[in-house]
Structure formats: structure tokens, C-alpha cells
């Protein structure tokens, strides 16, 4: 806290500081530790893990997962879930890619189209969930199929070929970096920071925690639950749109219908590894970012160590258990105390 009022006494100040959970959670420290250890070990045991040529693509791969993860964190905080983000990525990506191939559109327009498309899809989810009185997982299972259908129709049984380099500012190549930092990752970090601030210091942010903690109580306290829930899906949709641009940029010059497939599980994995409670009411976006980095580190590390690539997900599973397990143990220790 930096802006305490001059007249507040020391007791009140101390209280004000402690009303909020600590700015960085224990789970985030655990993840930082695990990632640091992994990076050091991989740096020692592989020829080039810590070289820019390895770290930069890793961060580029992390960006879309972490970006959608920010929205997913909002949603899971409200005790919801969105398993349709894979399908939504597909729709956003194919619309944007087709647009770019057809017309010589500037970067801003392409991004705008993707974000607007994603927001619309998110609004549909949010509307059905907030006003339909149906659990989020059911609605989004349904819309996941609908979005896939829509995406496949737009693909029209062919790939999108010859995608121009409009989006290369978000890409894996030289044009996608400044001072060696990939733009897509930098944007993701900025979004994470904004989301962190929003969740911690604004009414809207705290209301998400309240809704996830006890939706009925939030309603009775006068929180406008439905608009808030709806907006968290819409925000996720918007981020899905931006992530689709990152994915196009980091991909090849052709886009096929596998784009987005299975991404929902990757995103949810990042969020839960990051310490957000799947039951709602507790969690952080910074953890989500670290969760995404951890998963990508493991996958990349296995290949760079020369281990069979099929083993990659065995370790991802193990790390999910280790990371979430330590969180559980700390929670238990805290409760005992």
C-alpha cells in the first residue's frame, strides 16, 4: 500500500495491509523455485537450453496459453470454467487468416477483427451461463462443439495457404522481438500485470472473488453477478482473439483445422498449476503465467534432453501433481496452525 491517508493511525494501516492476501502467493514462490531449478538443471544438462535461440521460442509458445489463461483465471475465480477456448481460437484464427489472405489489411485491423470475433463468442458463452441458469462446464462443452463446427465451416474443407506476414510483429522471428524479448510475451506480461492490478485493487476484481466464494451471498450483497460473470467470459473471448493472432504469427504460412485443438486443457492446466482454486474464490493471474512457463519448460526440456518426446506429458502430469500437491500441503499446514 502506498496511498494511505495521512490521518490513519498505525493500527489501521497495518490492518489495511493485511486485509488483502499477500501480493505474491506462496504458490507463486513455489513455481518460481521449481522453474528456476529446472532451468538451471536444463542449462547444465543440455547444450543450449539457456541460449536465446531456445528461450525466445519457449516464451513465444507460452504467450498464447498464458494470455488465454488470464481470462480463464477470471472465469475460474467466479467458480466457472470455459472448455470452449480451443474452438474459439479456431474460429478467430481462421477468420483472421482468411481476411489477411484475401485483402491487404493492416496489423491493427487484423488484431481488431480477431479480438472482436473472440469477444462475441465469449459474450455468447457468458450470456448463456449468466442468464441460462446452467453450469458453465455444460454450456461451454456445448459451445465448444458449436465453435468447432463454425470453424470447420469457415475453413471449408481446405487449409488457408500463403498467409502474409502482417502479424510477424507477434511472431517467432527477428521481427517479433525487441531487445531479444518476444513482443507476444511482453504483451502477455503487460496483460498479466493489468489483470493482477484489476483483481487486487478494484471493485470489479474483488467482486469476481466474491462471486466465486458464494454467488448467492454476492447477489444478496447487491453485487451485479450476471453482468460480472458475463464480462469475465467476454474478456476471455477477447484474449482468445489476441492469442489467435499470436498463434497465426508463430505458425507457418498455412493454417489448418487443427489450430486450437486441445488448447483448453493446456490453458486449464496452466491456471490450476498456478494455484487458482478450481472451486472459485481463490487464485492469481501471476501464478497462471508461471504455470504456463512450467508446462512449456517441461515439454521443451524433454526434447532437448534427447528423451523420447512421448515422455514429455508424463512429466507434465508429474509436475502438475508436485506443484498442486505442495499447494495442498501448505494449505494443510496453515489450517493446522
Amino acid at each position: 500500500m502506498t496511498t494511505t491517508r495521512p490521518e490513519t493511525g498505525p493500527v489501521v494501516q497495518a490492518t489495511a495491509r493485511r486485509i488483502l492476501p499477500p501480493a505474491v502467493t506462496g504458490q507463486e514462490w513455489v513455481l518460481v523455485g521449481v522453474i528456476a531449478v529446472l532451468w538451471v538443471l536444463l542449462g547444465i544438462f543440455t547444450p543450449a537450453f539457456l541460449s536465446p535461440g531456445s528461450v525466445q521460442p519457449l516464451l513465444v509458445a507460452v504467450a498464447p496459453i498464458a494470455l488465454v489463461g488470464v481470462g480463464m483465471t477470471f472465469i475460474i475465480l467466479t467458480a466457472g470454467i470455459d472448455v470452449s477456448v480451443g474452438g474459439a481460437i479456431m474460429v478467430c484464427a481462421v477468420i483472421t487468416a482468411k481476411l489477411m489472405v484475401g485483402a491487404d489489411v493492416p496489423l491493427v485491423v487484423a488484431v481488431l477483427v480477431a479480438v472482436v470475433t473472440g469477444t462475441l463468442l465469449g459474450l455468447l458463452n457468458g450470456f448463456l451461463i449468466a442468464y441460462g441458469r446452467v453450469h458453465a462446464i455444460i454450456i461451454t462443452f456445448g459451445t465448444a462443439n458449436l465453435f468447432q463446427f463454425l470453424g470447420l465451416r469457415i475453413f471449408g474443407s481446405s487449409t488457408v495457404n500463403g498467409i502474409p506476414s502482417t502479424l510477424e510483429a507477434f511472431g517467432r522471428g527477428e521481427a517479433g522481438r525487441t531487445f531479444g524479448i518476444p513482443h507476444s510475451f511482453a504483451i502477455t506480461v503487460v496483460v498479466v500485470a493489468l489483470a493482477w492490478w484489476y483483481l487486487r485493487y478494484t471493485r470489479g476484481g474483488r467482486h469476481l472473488y466474491a462471486i466465486g466464494g458464494n454467488e448467492n451471498a454476492a447477489r444478496l450483497a447487491g453485487v451485479r453477478v450476471r453482468p460480472r460473470v458475463m464480462s469475465s467470459y467476454a474478456i476471455t473471448g477477447g484474449l482468445v482473439g489476441l492469442a489467435a493472432c499470436f498463434i497465426i504469427a508463430a505458425g507457418t504460412s498455412s493454417l489448418d483445422q487443427s489450430v486450437g485443438a486441445g488448447r483448453e486443457l493446456a490453458v486449464i492446466a496452466a491456471v490450476v498449476i498456478g494455484g487458482t482454486s478450481i472451486l472459485g474464490g481463490r487464485g492469481s493471474v501471476v501464478g497462471t503465467l508461471f504455470g504456463a512457463i512450467l508446462v512449456q519448460t517441461v515439454l521443451s526440456g524433454v526434447t532437448q534432453l534427447g528423451w523420447p518426446s512421448q515422455l514429455g506429458f508424463l512429466f507434465v502430469g508429474l509436475f502438475i501433481i508436485v506443484a498442486v500437491g505442495t499447494d495442498l500441503l501448505r494449505e494443510k499446514a496453515r489450517k493446522k496452525k
Binding site: G142, F149, L152
Partner: protein
């Protein structure tokens, strides 16, 4: 919000506040349709069959939508319904119960079965028993993580989904097992003519009798007629109250996941038979088996919050989707046909959930 129009004013002097107004048969049927998923699904199936029959008669289908075809389509209902039942059990057991790892368990235990029966050439019964034990073990890992250590089910089974999928590929050297014994095992899934009455009935895949019906009966008995089933519903409805009632929550919840593993191993054996090979990606290729199974369970009316779910709902949901998909393939040729299946599944799920969700309030359901 107004009262249901059919409710007549009731004598004000009744001793209790609770009234059960006499209502017409039609209005009760409507209420059942709008609030009870099982009734809704049954009606949707009837509508589907009716519409497809009419389309068939008017020559709009590229093949006949007849009993033979419906019977043949049941072969894909077997794994779907079985895994839907597995999800029914774990979701009903509450505390965010779900099992994302069923597809991976199918892959892994299928390889185990293929190895035992195809390569080691163990007797069929021995191979089946060991495979089911392997499934129980895989499920027990989930059960221990969720129930005894306290992992949220989504997280624990997401982790084991990744791990088992990986293990299945590694232990099999990513090659399907298709030894001769396995190829002949197809007989366990092929269509059969029933004795005596078989001549007038369509050929139903044998798996329906050897795998699906027994599983439906067993799960139904377990959930509805045993104290174990009571415990599952109780811990799913209110975990804390179940502890106070002395119900042994941990072992019951763990047993739900063990059963899910057991059912997965049964599906694995069935899948080996159906495809005449043990494939390390049997349950994980494409979209995998877990998400469709969960979809079938929630379409069947299983409440994702636990404590509510019925076997009949899951079975009807599987039938509806399988027959709907089969019909679409005859109705819409080309790529659009399989794409439309996605649309149909999504639309049915959203429609059924919204309809029941919105009308429950009107009829004062829970």
C-alpha cells in the same frame, strides 16, 4: 414469475402449507418434459426416430434409416455409454468430481490387455482379470489423489490423463498390438443373431450384450440398490454432512474413481475387440474419449455439482447422440455431414440444459 397456470386455488384452511394440487395428465406430462432430463431425452429420441423415418420414406436419405442400421450404430454407443456411466459415478460422488483420464486409462489398459492376451497368449479370463485389476489400479491412483490427499478431481485426473497417455505410448513402443489372437477377438464385438427370436430382430453388436447391458444393470444396482450407492449420493450432496453421519467419505469417494478405472479397462477390452487391435492411442486419438463421455453424462442430466444423476439418463443420452450422428451421415453427404455432427451435439446439449435450467425455476424444482 407467476404460478403455474394449472394450479387451482386451494382451500386456505389446510393444516400444512404443502399442497399437492390435482392437475391434469397433460400438464403433469408437460412439467415432466420440461423439468426432467430423462423424459426430455426419451421424447427427443422418439422425435428423432420419427423425423428420420419420415425423411427416409420421402427418399431424402442416402440410405435406409432402419432397425438394422440403428442396431449396427450401437457399436459406438457401447464405449460412449460405458464411459458416461463412469463419469456418472465420479461426478455424482461430488466435491467437483470428474475423470478426465478415462481415455488415457482405456489406452493404457488396452495395451496391457493386448500384451497379456496377444503376446503372452494368456487365457482370455486371466488376461481380462489382470486388465481389470490394472484399470482398478489406475483408477485408485486418481482415487487416492482426490480422496485421501485432497486434489481437486479436475487437476488430479488432468495430470493422470497426461501421464497414462504418455505411458501407453512408451510401453507399447507406439505400435498397436495386433497379434492373431487379438484379431480373432473381434468376435467378441461383432453383430450376432439372438437365439430363438433373433431371426426377426436386427443384428445387434454382441458387445451390447456382453459389455453394455451387464454394465448398465450393475451400475444401476450399485447406485440405487446398495448402501454403497447411498453413500455416493450422500457424499456428493453434502460432503461435510456425510462425515458427520459417519459415512466413510474417503473410501467411498476413492471407490468411485476405482470403478471409473475398472469401467475404462472394460471399455479397453471392448475397444480391442471392436478394432481387432490394441492401440496405444485408442482412448486418446482425435478428441479423446473423456470429453465425449463427460458430455454424455451432463446431457444425461448428471449435475456437475454432485449428488444428482441417473443411469437411465446417461444411457438415453448415449443412444440419442449415437442415433443422431448415424442419421446425420445418411442425411448430409460429404464433409458437411461429419461437421454437422458437432453442431448437433452442441445444440442438443445447450438446448436441453437451458430448457431444464430455465423451467426448473418455474416449477419450483431444486
Amino acid at each position: 414469475m407467476s404460478a403455474p397456470p394449472s394450479t387451482p386455488p386451494v382451500d386456505a384452511t389446510t393444516a400444512t402449507n404443502v399442497v399437492d394440487p390435482p392437475r391434469s395428465w397433460a400438464s403433469r406430462a408437460l412439467q415432466a418434459l420440461l423439468t426432467q432430463r430423462i423424459v426430455l431425452l426419451a421424447v427427443l429420441i422418439v422425435i428423432l426416430l420419427g423425423v428420420m423415418t419420415i425423411l427416409d420414406a420421402s427418399g431424402l436419405l442416402s440410405g435406409s434409416y432402419n432397425a438394422d442400421y440403428l442396431a449396427a450404430a450401437l457399436i459406438s454407443a457401447v464405449p460412449l455409454a460405458l464411459l458416461g456411466l463412469a463419469q456418472l459415478i465420479v461426478i455424482t460422488s461430488g466435491r467437483g468430481g470428474i475423470d478426465l483420464s478415462v481415455g488415457s486409462m482405456v489406452s493404457l489398459t488396452g495395451i496391457v490387455f493386448g500384451y497379456l492376451y496377444g503376446i503372452l497368449e494368456l487365457p482370455l479370463v486371466v488376461a481380462i482379470v489382470i486388465t481389470v485389476l490394472a484399470g482398478a489400479l489406475a483408477g485408485a491412483v486418481n482415487g487416492i489423489l482426490v480422496s485421501y490427499i485432497g486434489f481437486p478431481a479436475l487437476i488430479a485426473t488432468l495430470a493422470t490423463f497426461y501421464m497414462y497417455r504418455s505411458l501407453a505410448l512408451v510401453v507399447s513402443g507406439q505400435k498397436p498390438i495386433n497379434a492373431p489372437a487379438i484379431q480373432q477377438f473381434y468376435d467378441a464385438a461383432r453383430a450376432v443373431e439372438l437365439p430363438v427370436i433373433g431371426g426377426v430382430l436386427p443384428l445387434v453388436p454382441l458387445g451390447v450384450f456382453t459389455f453394455l447391458l451387464p454394465a448398465i444393470v450393475l451400475v444401476w444396482l450399485g447406485m440405487n440398490k446398495t448402501t454403497w450407492g447411498r453413500r455416493v449420493y450422500a457424499i456428493g450432496t453434502n460432503d461435510v454432512a456425510a462425515v458427520w453421519a459417519g459415512l466413510g467419505n474417503k473410501s467411498t469417494r476413492a471407490s468411485a474413481y476405482v470403478l471409473s478405472g475398472v469401467i475404462s479397462s472394460v471399455v479397453a477390452i471392448y475397444t480391442v475387440a471392436q478394432f481387432a487391435s490394441a492401440r496405444p492411442d485408442a482412448g486418446t486419438s482425435g478428441n479423446g474419449m473423456a470429453l465425449p463421455a463427460i458430455t454424455i453424462a451432463v446431457l444425461g442430466g448428471v449435475a456437475i455439482t454432485g449428488g444428482i444423476g441417473r443411469v437411465a439418463g446417461v444411457v438415453l443420452a448415449a443412444l440419442l447422440i449415437v442415433w443422431l450422428n448415424a442419421g446425420i451421415l445418411l442425411l448430409v453427404p460429404g464433409n458437411e455431414g461429419s461437421q454437422l455432427q458437432l453442431f448437433a451435439l452442441g445444440a442438443v446439449l445447450v438446448f436441453a440444459a437451458l430448457l431444464n435450467g430455465l423451467t426448473k425455476r418455474k416449477y419450483g424444482g431444486i
